[in-house]
């Protein structure tokens, strides 16, 4: 429409004149939607842009200009807008309006398949949780896969094919491809090059194989930023064949991690976390299990270790050799390595005494040598087949890599290039410059979910459908297969991967569902296939489809394969996948951007992690910009002083610095890939140059010491102390009060959080966010300390800066029976239910914030500004809103509600059957998502309930109990199991 003139404004004024109150308000906003009007305002009132730090949008301007009206209009007497009920024309079967339906599917946000359940309301998927039947999940779900629901609604996803950046019809692509395909078939595929990330879907792999078979001279390249060549190479050197490894940690009581973050970024971490905590016997039921971690970064696995040795990345190999030598393996120990001898000696003794029930795990990102040594040590300790087993890589992998593709392009051999997913232009190593190479390819097709950096330099972009929109299947970390089924039609018209690959082979209109089905029928056989298929879809796993273990024999001459010891020079730079952004492919996900990284507590951007002692030596201060240089490459990154970071090593997480991620992720953080050499993908040397500039690193926790409050806040103890104090009676819970008792005769909801089991993985935080419509507020608001997560994970350090002990403490609302927040609320907005839940009634809250002021745990969150609805950070979140939870408006206090909507649903279900709610019938979102079952929720009036059982432990304690708030949420302390020998040494 044409720009608005003052005359038009007067007309609008007349239009609005006879509207009142809320209605007037809304129509003003409707007005603000008109771009021309906005433009008019901006040219009329340019200065309003600086009214407060943070842009004032057009609506904001209207709010200001109409503030006087707001006083009248919003004055509590707004009428509800007219609402409509739009029933179905034909009611779908099995759908009951107002009742959720759950579907089982498989997600693979981090590469390997994880079983998930999709919660849908009236056909709208809005939540993802783990599938208890799936081996890689057992009911838990990691942050990436939980947050995937947000991407489903992300309006920044590619919504149409792009031809040279211009929207084009998919039919046009088909036409172009058909002609090209006939030509390709004539020349047997010469000139066709295919680049894919590692494949995890058997049916997809089969489709690709078929394509390559049809075009024998086509070439297939592979690329992933999470390069794990070392693992397979190591296995090949050890056993003569590339083998995948499967650990059985529930059987291992002595675990040595050579920088294997098996609780964090390692495939199968959810399962490993459960097995590991099982091996320690969580919830105060102790076994004598011990974890040693040697690592060159800070990881949650290292944080949970009983003994941790931070070493520079180049030193993992020497340390491994030293350990191997001590275990009596034919390896020449290095002259010098950073780990003290007493430590290795004690470790070796510990291992040797527990042969067959120990395990040495080499990290995915380690060199072949380290993997080789790990295999050898496991063989020496007789762990093969007991705590560790091997299986053949079930899927074919490409023979060639990105470097070779670039060579081919340079040689002009590449006429047609298919990039099936991934984002190589962004995440390729710095010395492989695809951005300039790809435009030379006459016909480059990028197939992916976003119009990202790679799509920008390709001739064609074909939008990929979201996993929740696609048929498919995936392999889990342990080689077991499970189906993926769509729960919605492609919202933005994406193409399902199976269909796309089939159509590339000229099979137009192929039905993805049929393709998967046929593939598995070929695998399973025709006998009662339908029953098996339907059963598998229902359970979310293909029963009996698990790669079987192979007997692995360590080659006698394995140690010949060991390379000469690497030389260590100067400061080393360690690359690591970002705990919240992974490789950066999910950078446009607001939930993940705002998810406080474990240990660093960083949000909205990455930073160079440096040990405070090193920083002091180099004259680097917190938030100071540092120039990282490797050869001719350099990046400017703000510094974060990180206790426990290995000396002489800085870490930079991948996943930052996206330029075409979308409105949320663009320009957040720094691209580590621009410093990454192809030869050394995981660590390299680097020069640090502090710059005279500052850039604030945004974190959600600023203080990490307990200030002599260890007993009141997060308790820790050791196994030795426990056994010593076994006689001591349970600490009495506070129960004396001046006031007469309020009796809780029905249910009494309570929660127990086991600090020892908690690995700080954030799964509960995201689970809570997606269950309870918790808004993301963006970097500026988080910087001001206004993040909204109902459940936070406090993290405290004990000990020096070199290698401090870390304790994670999840802190939701404590639901105090003598709640301090309640008696200061003037409005009855926060009150106590007859079941002991500290209720928050949003629509009664006027936002005095006295409740938060009086909360000793500071678990309440406040909508300082409007963070929801039209003011939400991204419209995507609106799609994921849980209809059973109120979306909070500006000026309202909120906090953990013990998932009151779940309690009510369960209570009603039970009441309809005139029975009590059974223990375990439901649980809170956080408890549901927790891989280690560190959070237990239930009715403490029921002595048989798990939560009551656990609360009866003598270790059970209430946070800040001396304030006599009688919290319903209590804790079990963290328990370490230090090796006595090492403890003795460190004692001295």
């Amino acid at each position: 429409m044409p720009p608005i003139k003052p005359a038009d404004l007067q007309k609008i004024g007349r239009q609005l004149a006879n509207r009142h109150g809320k209605e007037y308000w809304r129509s003003l906003e409707a007005l603000a939607e008109q771009p021309a009007f906005g433009a008019y305002l901006e040219q009329e009132f340019p200065r309003l842009a600086e009214i407060w730090n943070g842009p004032v949008d057009r609506r904001g301007f209207l709010k200001i200009s109409a503030a006087a009206m707001a006083l009248a209009g919003l004055a509590g007497c707004e009428r509800q807008p007219p609402e409509y009920i739009v029933p179905y024309v034909r009611m779908p079967e099995r759908l009951v309006p107002g009742k959720p339906l759950f579907y089982a599917t498989t997600l693979s946000a981090t590469g390997t398949g994880v079983g998930a359940l999709v919660e849908t309301h009236e056909g709208r998927p809005l939540r993802l949780s783990g599938n208890p039947a799936h081996p890689a999940s057992l009911g838990a779900l990691d942050v990436f896969n939980q947050a995937a629901i947000l991407d489903l609604y992300d309006p920044d996803r590619a919504q149409t094919p792009l031809f040279g950046g211009e929207p084009a019809a998919y039919s046009r692509f088909e036409a172009e491809w058909r002609s090209r395909y006939t030509q390709l078939t004539r020349q047997r595929g010469r000139g066709l090059h295919v680049l894919t990330p590692p494949l995890h879907s058997p049916s997809l792999a089969a489709q690709l194989q078929a394509l390559l078979a049809a075009l024998p001279e086509a070439r297939w390249y592979g690329h992933t930023p999470l390069e794990r060549g070392g693992a397979l190479a190591g296995a090949r050197q050890a056993f003569g064949q590339p083998l995948e490894v499967r650990y059985m940690l529930e059987r291992a009581v002595c675990i040595v991690s050579l920088e294997a973050d098996f609780l964090g970024d390692m495939p199968g971490s959810l399962r490993y976390a459960r097995d590991y905590s099982g091996s320690r016997g969580v919830h105060g039921k102790r076994q004598d299990s011990r974890l040693y971690v040697i690592e060159s970064q800070v990881s949650i696995t290292g944080a949970k270790a009983d003994h941790r040795q931070p070493v520079p990345p180049s030193q993992l190999d020497p340390v491994a050799r030293a350990l191997a030598a001590r275990l009596g393996l034919p390896v020449s120990p290095p002259v010098e390595q950073p780990v003290p001898d007493y430590w290795l000696a004690a470790l070796a003794r510990d291992l040797l005494t527990r042969q067959g029930q120990s395990v040495v795990i080499a990290g995915e990102q380690q060199t072949a040598a380290v993997h080789l040594l790990a295999h050898a040590m496991n063989a020496r300790l007789g762990n093969l087949g007991r705590t560790i087993e091997y299986y053949q890589p079930p899927l074919p992998s490409p023979a060639q890599d990105l470097a070779e593709l670039l060579a081919a392009i340079a040689a002009g051999e590449v006429e047609t290039l298919l990039i099936l997913g991934g984002n190589p232009v962004y995440d390729a190593p710095a010395d492989l410059d695809l951005a300039t190479a790809l435009p030379q390819v006459p016909f480059a097709v990028y197939y992916g979910p976003y119009a990202n950096e790679t799509a920008a330099v390709c001739r064609w972009l074909v939008p990929a459908a979201h996993p929740l929109e696609s048929w498919g299947d995936a392999l889990a970390f342990d080689g077991s297969a499970s189906p993926a089924q769509p729960v919605v039609q492609p919202i933005y018209g994406g193409i399902e991967p199976l269909r796309f690959l089939a159509e590339l082979r000229g099979q137009l209109g192929a039905q993805p569902r049929q393709l998967v089905r046929d593939y598995w029928q070929s695998r399973y056989g025709d006998a009662d296939f339908d029953a098996w298929w339907n059963g598998s879809l229902h359970d979310g796993v293909f029963a009996g489809m698990r790669a079987s273990a192979v007997a692995a024999e360590l080659r006698p001459d394995w140690n010949k394969a060991l390379p000469p010891l690497p030389q260590r020079q100067g400061m080393e730079l360690r690359f690591a996948p970002d705990p919240s952004l992974w490789d950066g492919s999910v950078a446009n996900n607001a939930w993940l951007q705002e998810l406080p990284r474990p240990l660093t507590k960083l949000v909205w951007g990455n930073a160079v992690l440096i040990n405070p002692l090193d920083a002091a030596a180099a004259g680097i201060a917190q938030n100071q910009l540092v120039q990282l240089a490797h050869g001719t490459w350099s990046q400017q990154v703000p510094a974060q002083l990180q206790p426990g970071q290995p000396r002489g090593t800085v870490t930079l997480h991948l996943g930052g610095g996206r330029s075409a991620a979308g409105r949320v992720g663009n320009g957040i953080g720094v691209a580590a890939y621009r410093l990454r050499p192809a030869a050394q993908p995981w660590f390299t040397t680097v020069q640090l140059q502090p710059l005279p500039a500052e850039q604030q690193v945004i974190t959600t926790q600023h203080h990490h010491r307990m200030q002599g409050r260890e007993q009141q806040l997060a308790r820790t103890t050791t196994l030795q102390e426990l056994t010593a104090e076994a006689a001591r009676a349970a600490e009495p819970q506070p129960s004396s009060s001046l006031y007469p008792e309020h009796r809780y005769n029905g249910y009494a909801w309570g929660m127990l959080i086991d600090i020892d089991a908690c690995i700080g993985c954030n799964a509960c935080v995201i689970a809570c966010q997606s269950e309870n419509n918790v808004p993301s507020v963006g970097p500026e608001q988080v910087r001001r300390g206004r993040e909204m997560h109902w459940l936070r994970i406090d993290q405290y350090y004990k000990g020096g800066l070199e290698a401090p002990k870390v304790v994670f403490q999840p802190v939701p609302c404590m639901h105090c029976e003598k709640a301090p927040c309640e008696y200061v609320c003037p409005m009855h907005a926060t009150t106590h239910s007859s079941e002991g839940v500290n209720e928050m009634t949003y629509n009664r809250c006027i936002g005095t914030r006295d409740c938060s002021q009086n909360c000793p745990y500071k678990v309440r969150r406040f909508n300082f500004l409007s963070y929801t609805g039209k003011d939400a950070l991204t419209p995507a979140v609106i799609g994921t809103h849980n209809p059973d939870v109120t979306v909070r408006s500006r000026g309202v206090m909120e906090k953990c509600s013990y998932c009151i909507q779940r309690i009510n649903r369960a209570r009603m279900a039970a009441q309809k059957e005139n029975r009590r709610i059974r223990d375990g019938e439901f649980t809170t979102a956080c408890a549901e998502a927790c891989p280690t079952r560190a959070i237990v929720f239930g009715d403490i009036n029921d002595p048989a309930a798990e939560v009551s059982q656990l609360k009866s432990s003598r270790l059970n304690y209430a946070m800040l109990a001396e304030l006599n708030t009688w919290p319903r949420t209590t804790y079990l302390p963290g328990v370490r199991n230090p090796n006595p020998e090492i403890a003795r040494h460190e004692g001295q």
Partner: protein, 179 residues
Amino acid sequence: MTERERSWGLLAGFGSVAELHAAIVALRAAGYRHMDAYTPLPVEGLAEALGQKRSWVPLITLCGALAGGIFGFWIQWWTAVVDFPINVGGRPFNSWPAFLLVTFEMAVLVGACTAFAAMLALNRLPRLHHPLFGVGEFDLASRNRFYLAIEASDPLFDPVRTRQLLQQQAPLSLREVPP
């Protein structure tokens, strides 16, 4: 009769409290009752001299304050215990110590308002029009002159004799107050 309609009364102005006081005593002795004095500032003793009873304001105010206090406590107790008892931080429904503050405030509020209202009511205020304002020099009553007014409504009032009586008190001025 006709006299009364012609005038509201007589107004005598004096230069000092003492003279005014003397005049009052004299006229009361002569048996006049319907009279009042007008002074620029409160003066002790005149009220007694004029035989006015002591003010009702304190008693009325006391009633007001009590009513306010009682209502104040009642509304808190009734809402918290009877109408909608809610468990707030495990506190008893009838948290009477916490209710005392509002009780006190309500007593003060209502008390103060009654005091003011009572003052106005007993003084028959507001009364914007009054015969006395018709007398040209009456503005001195709020400056430095002390007036005595005999109202025609007094049974003994007689334009001539009363005027003479006042003359004997040697006022600085003596005026007829038109109705």
